[in-house]
């Protein structure tokens, strides 16, 4: 950029106050038990704070838009990494064999009957297990 943007002091002070406020929010919500949502909220607040710093203190808002694109790309790639990794951990152990959640490709597949029923996390499902054992005796 050829011209240099001069930010008024007022803006800097407002941003600084917002950052302090958001730090307070982070501390405050850590005392509330939201389960796994705690980490999501903490990361969200942190991202907002980092963006404020980048946009105002680092002048990204008034800079060449290509730099903004680079910044957004880094957020996008971070999003891709976290989302797809979570797709793994959220479905870990799910072999797609539980009739309550997934259909096997070939319903007559021989091994299908011999496997114990499990829920999506791989734990055995009690109410069906007795019946299942009887089935196995017939084989």
């Amino acid at each position: 950029m050829s011209e240099h943007h001069i930010t008024p002091l007022r803006t800097y002070l407002i941003i600084a106050a917002s950052l302090l406020f958001l730090s307070g929010v982070t501390v405050w919500v850590s005392y509330i038990d939201l389960g796994s949502f705690n980490i999501v909220l903490a990361m969200f607040v942190a991202t907002v704070k980092a963006s404020l710093v980048a946009f105002f203190f680092m002048h990204l808002l008034w800079d060449d838009k290509k730099n903004l694109i680079m910044f957004l790309m880094s957020l996008m790639f971070f999003g891709i990494f976290v989302t797809i990794t979570m797709l793994d951990t959220a479905f870990r152990g799910d072999l797609g064999l539980n009739p309550e959640t997934k259909d096997p490709i070939n319903k007559r597949a021989a091994f299908y009957d011999t496997l114990p029923l499990t829920d999506t996390h791989g734990h055995p499902v009690d109410e069906h297990s007795g019946k299942h054992d009887e089935d196995k005796d017939h084989h």
Binding site: K66, I84, T85, L87, T89, L95
Partner: protein, 540 residues
């Protein structure tokens, strides 16, 4: 010859300090080239030791422990110290500013800093070798890498440091492409090697920080016992593989994209025909760079990751085939009805097309979950990635060296010897690695120092041809350096292949210290063989 043309970047200024503190992109590129080739020989030597160990079953030459060290160091040196820095660092540095008509890269001091950071990181790797090696495999998978008593820390620290060099080089190239082009050199008039380096740089600056983070997390767990990857501490070992491959899969494209760029330069010049599908090749570079970020899980099909992720990763993996196919077909169509001359660079480009196609297609096999579960960690995978990395990247790198050798150093090598060496590389390579596909299909696992009797025949073939491959590469590189020692000079104004890009038409060979005596004026596009006649001029 004017007084000005006698002065070039190699002889002006003089003195050792003028090299160590140089800001000239061409000198920095040359320093990368020399260090890269030294590491290439070191890595190659380790490969030959392994191959000769595998010539017969049992521990004939080296023990199991040394074998573990040998394959780890072979992988780590070849990837982190040679392939990743070599093409962008050496050929990219020498050529990028010349191709865009600039006096230097955008940040010359940062460029020198990148080289020293790379050297500093390389020292750690050398320390690792002297201090007894490292035995985890180049992937440093947890939990073993947090427990192994070998030199995991210096090696990963070295890789961490070299990563910064990669990031800074990428940043420098992006700024150069955006800001340093001469007037009139619009995006669609850029040589495709510049597009390739641009795509590579984007991947370098977006992916490499993740590698640095991974290495830091590994050390945090090792030293402070923070549970990240170890289940006993509440971590997740598969998470390490997610982190590692989120960098290392895009890194595959850091390695192969510049090779694509080199091939896109060699084929039109040596076929004297306008490149087919310029925009398609340019955009396929960017799309490969992007898709490369979405497919890392195909390295983890047997890691215990969820079936759902496997299906998603397998599906997306197939998309890589589309832009890659676009490139392969465009290159073939470029040669169609062109005036193909069988010069050494063209031989390497043709070898690349053949070898990379095999490497790419076997990648599609491995992208299919059901097949990969059987082939994972067998020699099929070893053969696949050597076809891509060596048959693709290193063959293209050798082609690029032969193509730009007279330009970069003002000397011409013996073309007959270069052709024979290229043929030796091609045959030796196939002889070494094709049997490994068969070994893999028959169940030979990778990373073992010994094997069952049934594999003897194929392993001994592979070992025999690896010797031929090693000798051929040695001859090819020595032939290049011999021309330099013998000073078999070309005329400073010569254009031996009839290239149309700025480095051929507007600079002397070797280039002037400031690249161009005056700012070049663009007269035609990079491949306008249909509009302009460029003479091949080559005088001693």
């Amino acid at each position: 010859m004017s007084e000005n043309m006698k002065q070039n970047y190699l002889n002006h200024p003089k003195g050792i300090m003028s090299w160590l503190l140089t800001l000239d992109h061409k000198r920095i590129g040359l320093m990368y080239l020399v260090s890269g080739i030294l590491f290439f020989f070191l890595g190659g030597l380790l490969a030959l030791v392994m191959r000769f160990e595998l010539a017969a079953p049992g521990n004939d030459i080296i023990s199991n422990e040394i074998y573990n060290n040998a394959y780890t160091l072979h992988g780590a040196i070849m990837i982190f110290l040679f392939i990743i820095p070599a093409i962008p660092g050496a050929l990219g540095n020498i050529l990028l500013p010349l191709m865009v008509g600039a006096k230097d890269v955008a940040f010359p001091r940062l460029n020198l800093a990148s080289f020293y950071i790379y050297s500093f990181g390389a020292l750690f790797a050398l320390y690792t070798i002297i201090n007894g090696g490292v035995d985890t495999g180049w992937t440093f998978y947890t939990p073993y890498s947090t427990q192994s008593s070998s030199n995991v820390v210096p090696m990963t620290l070295g890789i961490f440091i070299i990563g910064f060099s990669s990031i800074l080089t990428g940043l420098n190239f992006i700024a150069t492409v955006h800001k340093m082009r001469i007037p009139g050199l619009t995006w669609y008039k850029l040589p495709l090697f510049v597009w390739a380096l641009y795509g590579t740089s984007l991947v370098q600056i977006t992916a490499t920080p993740v590698l640095a983070i991974t290495m830091v997390l590994l050390m945090l767990e090792r030293f402070l016992g923070i549970g990240i990857f170890d289940p006993a501490l509440g971590g997740d070992p598969v998470l390490y593989q997610h982190f590692f491959w989120f960098y290392s899969h895009p890194a595959v494209y850091i390695m192969i994209l510049p090779a694509f760029g080199i091939i896109s330069e060699i084929i039109p010049v040596h076929s004297r025909k306008k490149i087919w599908g310029y925009k398609f090749i340019a955009y396929s570079t960017l799309s490969i760079a992007f898709i490369g970020f979405l497919v890392w899980g195909h390295h983890m099909f047997t890691s215990g990751q969820s079936v759902f992720s496997q299906i998603v990763f397998s599906f997306i993996t197939y998309f890589v085939g589309i832009p890659t196919g676009v490139k392969i077909f465009s290159w073939i169509l470029t040669m169609y009805k062109g005036q193909v001359s069988f010069t050494p660079p063209m031989f390497y480009a043709l070898a690349f097309l053949f070898l990379f196609t095999i490497g790419g297609l076997t990648g599609i096999f491995l992208g299919a979950v059901a097949l990969d579960i059987h082939l994972h960690d067998t020699y099929f995978v070893v053969a696949h990635f050597h076809y891509v990395m060596q048959g693709g990247t290193i063959v293209a790198f050798l082609g690029g060296l032969h193509h730009w050798w007279p330009k970069s150093f003002g000397v011409m090598y013996n073309q007959t010897i270069a052709n024979i060496a290229a043929l030796g590389v091609f045959i030796g390579f196939n002889g070494t690695f094709f049997p490994q596909f068969l070994l893999g299909l028959r169940g030979m696992p990778r990373r073992y120092a010994t094997y069952d009797e049934q594999f003897v025949e194929l392993h001994s073939y592979s070992t025999f041809w690896s010797g031929i491959l090693g000798i051929s590469i040695f001859i090819a590189v020595m032939n290049l350096f011999w021309s330099f020692i013998k000073r078999n000079k070309v005329d400073p104004g010569s254009n031996p292949w009839g290239g149309m890009t700025l480095e051929w038409t507007h600079t002397s060979s070797p280039p002037h210290p400031h690249n161009f005596e005056e700012e070049p004026v663009l007269q035609h596009g990079p491949y306008d063989y249909d509009k302009v006649i460029v003479q091949k001029t080559y005088k001693k």
